[in-house]
Amino acid sequence: MPDGPLVALRNITKTFGGVHALSGVTLEIAAGEIHALCGENGAGKSTLIKILSGSVQPDSGEVLVDGSPLATGSVAVSEAAGIAVIHQEIVAFPHLSAQDNIFIGREPRRGILLDRAKMRSEAQRLLNQLGEDIDLSQPVGDLPVAQQQMVGMARALSHRCRLLIMDEPTASLSARETTVLFRIIRQLQSEGVSILYVSHRLEEIFALSNHITVLRDGRWVATEPTREINQDRLIQLMVGRELAQAEAETKPATSAERVLLEVRGLKREGVFDEISLQVRAGEIVGMAGLVGAGRSEVAQSVFNLDPRDAGEVLLDGEPLPAGSVRRAMQRGLALVPEDRQHAGLVLPMSVGANLSMASLPSLTCCGLTSARREDELIQKLMRELVVKAASPKLAASSLSGGNQQKLVLGKWLARRPKVLILDEPTRGVDVGAKAEIYRLIRGLAAEGMGVLLISSDLPEVLSLSDRILIMREGRISGELSRTEATQEKILALAIPAATAQAA
């Protein structure tokens, strides 16, 4: 075996629809090392993993295994080269048994038939190694989540892999299972397997890794030996120092204003708990946290898209009963969802139709919609929002991401809501359109609207919010005022506390 790295990425660049997910990233992983990959949401970790595993083709750059280039963009080729992935979301076949799940794609055979005896004994051996006692014949979809995860793990181990990529493997594991996982990881390492370990849990990274690589905004920032770096320094590297245009505009104190939205002790079993918050008139309340902390779920529950198990929601001091989105809308609540392509717009329909969609009842008399009033509304909104479209008759799909996002905003603004909940309003939006959307949000608040802003973009949260709530694992872990908030403080509150290591 040569002395060089087992796997090397050279100058990898990948763009999705004009947005740079990765630009010029170079990374080396030595044989038998545990290499941690860190970065905020959207730093490019997932894309990098997908390129290594062959499910995404890079635009440029190369992947070397043992010094020789790997044909990228094929899962089969990557697997044959010994690269296996344990995905964050549990990618399993819910209808198939554990043993089928473990071996699908590489089934042991005897002649043309499956060697079921071998599948069974191998699956048993792998799961024993993981310390799991799982019913091999039951459909995996019927197993508890943690066991499903272990089946995924067994699948990855069943490859004679040389590089095992683990993407947030402990996200759905209990402390005991995490301990087992760590034991397995170290055992694999002692057998010479390299591990690329991606996690938000910094304790785990410090406990396990030999090297840490940090990505930020799709760029490589640093690779350091783990023992030469501490947690503060790592967080600093992840967020960077430049606090993009966070100049605090002086605003009137809003504490005297009316509370428009109040949430008390909201709970959804297994998703979030004890969520209490207030949004006052004219106030922008930011909601920060890692992906999966439960922020969008809270918003959906407040808006009655999802049920709630406990707690209450008050709009303008009056309770909002659970169950009806229509009632929430009538009472002056609006939610601009995260996934604008699927949940926010009807892409094949025209710009105008999308804008007026949520306001049709107010334009309708005796069951007929007034085309003249609809046109007036559309023209007014397009002026207000500065939508860059040649005509309101164009299909919404023909607009850029930023202009599409303006349409989603406009659709709800047309109803003049009292409280606006924005979920990732600028994801995938270019810088110019971002600035216009920021101006719009500030303008709405200045007119007296209450805004709840969910965003993973920390500079965005910092520059727009009057107060920032931070969520961690389904709970509000802290609140920071505009003056005291920094990226470091937010991250420290957002990153899950010590896990198995403390136990």
């Binding site: 076949f93 209808h95 198939l96 699908i104 089934e107």
Partner: protein, 325 residues
């Protein structure tokens, strides 16, 4: 688990139970129903649905559908008749048989390519085929009947080997092979994987498209097989053969527990479904409803498919409730 939940979950048990009850009731009301000759007639009658059902089970397991099988059978019957009838092409029977199987396979392959390569939803592809193939059949037959089928061909439909009808031997062979394929081959398991979670299948390095092309092609081939053993039971080939077969077979497959959203379903379940639907038809005749039995058959067939999907939803909901507890 209470018995009702078990029945809802393991559809095979529920269908087997319904089948046994129907036979028992029919036997009590009219003992002639249980006569060996009658039972054999029922079996012979359900052969095409059973053979095509095996292929369609795999198509539905991948999350797709094929409603062109009835028209496909109509066209293959016309092709078969014209190839071996002395008044038309008059080819040797074995040549006609091979060409018919090839034609069936080709129709299935075209379905598969349109669904995967051209990315047309399978319901639309096969709806188009349902109409187009029937039209082609009518053109080919030009309103005439083929009545001079060679006796070697009639043997496939009416002859017996070792005391059992050729068509029953063929159905048994197809069923056993299909069960073995589903349970004990890598490709068989992959068919289920693709339907269970296409995204995960892609991540596992499976070629989702090729697997779907395979199941459509297999179904086309099996329609050919079904044509060969069922059409020569009659002495006449006309352009209306196979009308409604697609609805019957889809009903049997879904009643037998195959999930219309993919990932789940067994050959045994489908065969039990075929048995149940086939029995119902005969029972209606035995109940002496006369003309009306045809109307009842349709109504019951429709009721069955709705009940099957409702039971599926019930089982799903139940399962989720349990997982939360």
């Amino acid at each position: 688990m209470n018995p009702l939940t078990l029945l809802a979950r393991r559809r095979e048990y529920a269908v087997a139970l319904a089948l046994a009850l129907t036979i028992a009731v029919a036997g009590i009301v009219n003992p002639a129903f249980l006569a060996a000759g009658n039972l054999r007639d029922i079996l012979v009658q359900v052969v095409p649905a059973a053979i095509v059902g095996c292929g369609l089970t795999f198509v539905i397991v991948t999350g797709e559908i094929d409603i062109s099988v009835g028209s496909s059978m109509g066209l293959l019957a016309a092709v078969l008749g014209q190839l071996c009838s002395p008044l038309h092409a008059g080819l040797p029977v074995w040549v006609a048989v091979v060409l018919t199987l090839l034609a069936g396979t080709l129709i299935g392959l075209v379905n598969g390519l349109l669904v995967t390569v051209a990315r047309v939803p399978s319901i639309i592809v096969t709806l188009g085929m349902l109409t187009a193939l029937r039209g082609a059949t009518e053109m080919l037959m030009a309103g005439k009947w083929i009545t001079d089928l060679p006796s070697a061909l009639r043997f496939l439909g009416t002859g017996s080997v070792l005391g059992m009808r050729v068509s029953l031997w063929m159905a048994a062979l197809v069923i056993v092979t299909s069960i073995l394929f589903a349970r004990n081959t890598a490709l068989g398991r992959r068919v289920y994987a693709v339907g269970s979670n296409p995204h995960a299948a892609h991540l596992a390095g499976l070629s989702v498209g090729r697997i779907k092309i395979f199941v459509f092609t297999l179904t086309g081939f099996l329609v050919g097989v079904a044509t060969l053993v069922s059409v020569p039971q009659l002495s006449v080939i006309e352009s209306g053969i196979g009308i409604g077969l697609e609805l019957l077979v889809v009903t049997c497959v879904v009643v037998g527990g195959t999930s219309i959203s993919g990932g789940k379903g067994t050959i045994i379940g489908t065969i039990l479904g075929v048995g149940l639907l086939g029995i119902v038809r005969t029972v209606l005749i035995f109940l002496n409803l006369g003309e009306r039995s045809v109307y009842w058959e349709r109504a019951i067939q429709g009721g069955f498919i709705l009940a099957a999907v409702l039971a599926d939803n019930f089982a799903q909901k139940n399962k989720r409730g349990e997982a939360h507890a």
